[in-house]
Subunit: 303 residues, 2 copies
């Protein structure tokens, strides 16, 4: 049943992404993506949608499917309870939940941290963090996974020991589209790098991010910040604030695991602080992470 191929799926709130992977070489043989994220589907549509998308790759259900991301949340296909940190690919494999209604398909459980002073959750980024380590042939490191809810994950001996979510991406969107401050940026495409660098500098304001965000408006009115630079400035303030808060916790190298465009912005922000950066493209990290997990799954199944 295991064969030489597997299918890795990253299914989030607003996107569905699937990859057909050669297990020996790690090569991606084919991929497809759609905007059929969780928001677009009702609970009973998941198995049908998934089967329809993947049937020509599956060779009659013989190619296994691993599904990571919000698909395992309460509003997804089937809730796969998150595992406590620390955890590695072996624990994730042991915690895989069969996807109801589809043969040889498993949902990755995700991770949580629950302590008095820190409560946090992730779904999908744990797979990418393990994949990034595997691709870089590392056993430990700090991964930054930028996005709607950026994750900063600390890994030791191949296991994820702790992590912190930063609401950077979602806040960027909320401020840009739903406050007075973001108004001049609406209807404009692209991100101006000069504005981004000004925002990074503003993130160091002693009054912190609640003030620095407002400088988007005051500088637009009185210090020559053009409408074309407003989106970049906002992004710089928020990413700068994120990096400042995380950088305060160490100076080691950071492994960036995101899209090329987000990685580029975070690289600028981190290098401003003299932090060395290694980049991994997030889809490649997903593939590598699912491969690592599937190896453990086989050994679990083989018992």
């Amino acid at each position: 049943m295991t064969g030489r191929r597997l299918i890795a799926v990253d299914w989030g709130t607003s996107n569905f992404r699937a990859f057909l992977v050669d297990r020996e070489t790690g090569e991606c043989l084919d991929s497809r993506r759609s905007e059929a994220g969780l928001r677009a589907l009702s609970a009973d549509e998941f198995p049908h949608y998934c089967a329809a998308q993947l049937s020509d790759w599956r060779d009659g259900d013989r190619v296994p499917v691993y599904l990571a991301g919000m698909v395992g949340s309460a509003r997804g296909w089937c809730q796969a309870p998150q595992l406590e940190v620390p955890a590695g690919p072996a624990e994730l494999a042991a915690g895989l939940m069969p996807a109801p209604g589809l043969e040889a398909a498993w949902i990755v459980p995700g991770l949580k941290a629950v302590r008095d002073a820190h409560v946090d959750v992730m779904r999908g980024e744990e797979v990418q963090a393990f994949g990034a380590l595997a691709l870089k042939q590392l056993e430990q490191g700090v991964c930054c996974l930028p996005g709607t809810h950026s994750k900063w994950a600390r890994l030791v001996e191949g296991r994820l020991i702790d992590f912190t979510t930063m609401m950077t991406g979602e806040l960027y969107h909320a401020v840009r589209y739903h406050t007075l401050v973001g108004e001049p940026s609406r209807g404009r495409e692209g991100l101006d790098e000069a504005g981004f660098r000004q925002g990074l500098a503003a993130a160091r304001h002693p009054a912190g991010v609640l003030h620095a965000l407002f400088e988007t408006r005051s500088r637009h009115l009185h210090a020559g910040l053009g409408a074309e630079s407003v989106a970049g400035f906002l992004s710089g303030v928020l990413i700068g604030t994120e990096v400042l808060a995380q950088h305060a916790q160490g100076e080691q190298e950071v492994i960036l695991v995101g899209s090329p465009s987000l990685n580029a912005l975070y690289r600028i922000a981190l290098e401003t602080h003299g932090v060395p950066v290694v980049e991994v493209e997030s889809d490649r990290a997903t593939l590598a992470g699912i491969l690592a997990l599937a190896d453990h799954h086989e050994s679990v199944e083989g018992k």
Copy 2:
């Protein structure tokens, strides 16, 4: 023309508030308010709306009108260019701009701070800060004026020497109504004090506000934060972050100038840090500030 009465108007983005005041006693003789803020009116409607609202108080244009707030901005009645700090009631009086189309009516100019490392603007809060000082018979102090864009103003010898805007209120609204994190709070009224106090504690998280906001969600999922406490928690995170950032700049008494409900929340946040608090209700501060300004206006006009 000056007589024994004046009319103070606080005209903002979403509200119109007018007060008929006895100049000798400072007593508010009558007041009216509406939701005809700047957003609800086009440029040429301002003089007509204002005249219609106030005609029965004006005794044939003999009672002077002073208008403070966003009414003096580019999107208001007529732009009254902001004055540079430091400035006191005398400078505001000298910078009053006649309101086009209405006899004996003046727009208060507002203040700005423009330096390389700090750019900021206010309209209306400067009047409240001067009023609060007058009501408390003080010559100096730190005023916190909570709201959509909270202002922290430093006053010395009766003049406002510097200030900082914190985007707390607008961010609260954007996060509550336009992010995943705020979702459980929607459609619920009121603010839960227990949730607010939990949010204040979360504001001290070493990863800062971008993470603390996300704990609203992770604690809702895994640490028993009920849907009824989500709005309070968000408010506690944001107000706690604001107070932490400002408190880092001194330990002196803070004069709170806001609505009774906002003052109560900020009092809790400040007292958590051992900062002594004095409260002034913001409408009373507006009246007292306009009275102080009008006294200087008379002496200007008398020259």
